[in-house]
């Protein structure tokens, strides 16, 4: 991996070069003036603005920015769409290979990269990879970046995930002084760097250690913020979720759930889907729709039986999937600490609180 320095004023040339080859998505800021109802000074000082990725074009007058933390929407939406056609069937002319332009995603954070490992396990692993996901994954340039700040809900560090990427990207940007350190990790990225060698200067040792100091400072600030939540360590997650099977926390927490499934659809590690067919003359369409395990009929079978008929069972099932199924099969949890589910929930159901309670019930039982 090579590291270069890119000046702020040259960033648009960098973007234009990428956009000549890829559909480039860059962060836009969404102002969010609602301040958190919180008396705590440390929390009130945290940012509340959001970011969304939008398609960049050279002449667009959108004001693209560098995102200080992850975007609102999960990165997985660029790899499996909420609703998309997978194939048609039976007509002679069925399944034309649809050619998609390669995409470049900018502003991907380390939590997003962690989540992508879960998506890769699901869609690329097993006996047969998902052909659409595989093609898109291969055709995507990932331009990750450090988080110079965090939101109140961010808790990646609770699971030892750092707020800066060190692997699983093509390019990584770390803001520094009047520009960026640019890590170039793959052949795809190298060809871009080569074409732009007049604006890429070799990073100096001073710049590299400057970045390390910034990273360390942010980690310290985030760790400090997280102490109040007492989130259990990742090594205990599987045990506490299994031993908490009969805990009352599931019923307690679901009291305020309105079954919107926002937590599922905004989650970057969730992957469940439903195949759904649509008649279309002699050439029926097969669609893939994102599905969610908090929806009532997720596990219902044709005879009418439903193992997850009550809401609390579905919440518990979600935690068992994330912290038992994935840890057992993949070796790590399907939660990247992005906090999107906390932010989206109108019922204020908080994964940090649930994990803490499960941990306390196992290790600090009240007499």
């Amino acid at each position: 991996m090579e590291t270069y320095f890119l000046k702020n004023e040259d960033i648009s040339r960098f973007y234009d070069r990428i956009a000549s080859e890829y559909d480039l998505y860059l962060p836009l800021k969404v102002k969010n003036p609602i301040k958190k109802d919180c008396s705590c000074q440390a929390v009130a000082s945290l940012p509340t603005d959001d970011y969304v990725l939008k398609r960049y074009t050279k002449d667009s007058n959108l004001e693209f920015v560098f995102n200080d933390y992850r975007c609102i929407e999960p990165t997985r939406a660029f790899f499996t769409q909420y609703k998309e056609e997978l194939c048609t069937y039976f007509a002679e002319t069925s399944t034309k290979e649809k050619k998609e332009r390669p995409q470049a995603l900018c502003g991907i954070k380390n939590c997003d990269l962690f989540a992508l490992k879960v998506q890769d396990y699901v869609f690329l692993g097993g006996a047969e990879p998902d052909p659409i996901y595989k093609t898109r994954r291969e055709n995507t340039l990932i331009i990750a970046s450090d988080c110079p700040n965090f939101k109140e809900v961010c808790f990646c560090r609770a699971f030892n995930i750092n707020p800066y990427p060190t692997e699983d990207f093509d390019i990584n940007l770390s803001p520094l002084n009047n520009g960026f350190l640019v890590d170039v990790a793959t052949a795809k990225a190298r060809s871009i760097a080569l074409a732009l060698k007049d604006i890429f200067s070799q990073a100096t040792l001073g710049q590299i250690s400057g970045r390390a100091a910034k990273r360390e400072l942010l980690v310290r600030r985030l760790d400090e913020h997280l102490t109040q939540y007492k989130i259990p360590q990742k090594e205990t997650l599987r045990d506490i979720v299994i031993s908490g099977y009969n805990s009352t926390i599931w019923q307690d927490q679901m009291r305020t759930c309105v079954e919107c499934n926002g937590c599922v659809f905004i989650c970057d590690t969730c992957h469940c889907f439903l195949l759904s067919d649509e008649p279309n003359n002699d050439n029926s369409k097969r669609l893939r729709l994102w599905d969610g395990c908090l929806l009532k009929n997720f596990t219902k079978v044709a005879g009418g039986a439903n193992p997850l008929k009550l809401r609390y069972m579905r919440l518990r099932n979600r935690y068992l999937k994330k912290f038992d199924f994935f840890i057992s099969n993949l070796g790590f949890q399907a939660c990247c600490g992005c906090g999107r589910c906390i932010e989206v929930c109108p019922g204020k159901i908080d994964i940090r609180y649930i994990l803490r309670k499960l941990h306390e019930e196992k290790y600090l039982p009240t007499s």
Binding site: Y89, E97, G126, D130, Y245, F273, V301, G303
Partner: protein
């Protein structure tokens, strides 16, 4: 062209056999090569409507066509029950892991079915019959709600005549024309002349029946690792991606649909 795992292969319904008021057997002829191992399942597409998982009920030795014995229960099966000879359907698969027949060699095999749950077991029986001398005793115990709900009525007497086969039926509710056992299938399990502690047990039926048969067979001495259970779960993709059929750390579609009881026994609520 890249293979699309979600795209069904076209197949034609060759024959429809009425088993009971609510159960029909469909003989399906795929337009492409297709074979399965007994116990594996397929996804059946009703064009423009959708898919549902079924385990073939025919002899896996027959390569160009297969049977599905299906009860009318939901949207897909209700539509299927209105379909006729010559109608087009689609299939994907086979998926999952079949019964491990080599492990059954030289042993007593106790097969317990309930209702339409005899469908996958018929496929297993045909596989066993094709090498019948490889196994010790084949004991079949089958329970249906009433005499009218018994599937494969014309074939059962032939199976009964086979050497090494011990077959008993029971109905939950009897009438004057029924001379067999009346009661749940659990009432005809003890009388099998086999050493339960060394036998293989295989169960398929509605969840409540599976639960009580499992408890009874464990009681009779069958070992958890020798007890094969067909787990009914909602399935969509068949390839371990859609997330619907999770059982603990397994997916029924790729790690099952048949599981030995030792893998399930410590899990909560497996019969729900």
């Amino acid at each position: 062209m890249k293979k699309n795992i979600y795209q069904p292969v076209k197949a034609v319904i060759e024959e429809v056999i009425e088993e009971t008021r609510t159960i029909k057997t469909f003989r399906i002829k795929p337009e492409a090569d297709f074979s399965f191992a007994t116990g594996q399942f397929i996804e059946l597409t009703i064009p423009g409507i959708g898919e549902a998982p079924f385990t073939p009920s025919s002899d896996p030795g027959i390569k160009d066509r297969f049977d599905l014995t299906i009860m009318k229960a939901g949207e897909i099966t209700t539509k299927l029950h209105t379909m006729n000879k010559g109608d087009a359907v689609g299939i994907r698969g086979p998926f999952g892991i079949g019964y491990p027949l080599p492990k059954f060699k030289g042993r007593d095999i106790l097969i317990v079915g309930g209702g339409v749950g005899l469908a996958p077991l018929r496929s297993l029986l045909f596989s066993l019959f094709s090498q019948i001398n490889e196994y010790n005793k084949i004991v079949l115990r089958y329970g249906a709600r009433t005499q009218g709900d018994i599937v494969y009525k014309s074939q059962i007497p032939e199976w009964q005549k086979k050497d090494r086969v011990d077959l008993l039926l029971s109905v939950d509710i009897g009438d004057d024309s029924w001379s067999g056992n009346v009661g749940l299938v659990t009432t005809i399990l003890n009388n099998a002349a086999i050493d339960f502690t060394k036998a293989v047990g295989i169960v398929c039926g509605p969840p409540i029946m599976m639960k009580f048969v499992t408890l009874k067979l464990l009681d009779l001495g069958i070992k958890p690792e020798d007890l094969y259970l067909s787990m009914e779960k909602s399935m969509s993709c068949g390839v371990g991606k859609c997330g619907h059929c999770r059982i603990g750390k397994f997916y029924a579609c790729k790690d099952g649909p048949v599981f030995t009881y030792d893998k399930l026994k410590d899990m909560h609520d497996i019969w729900d």
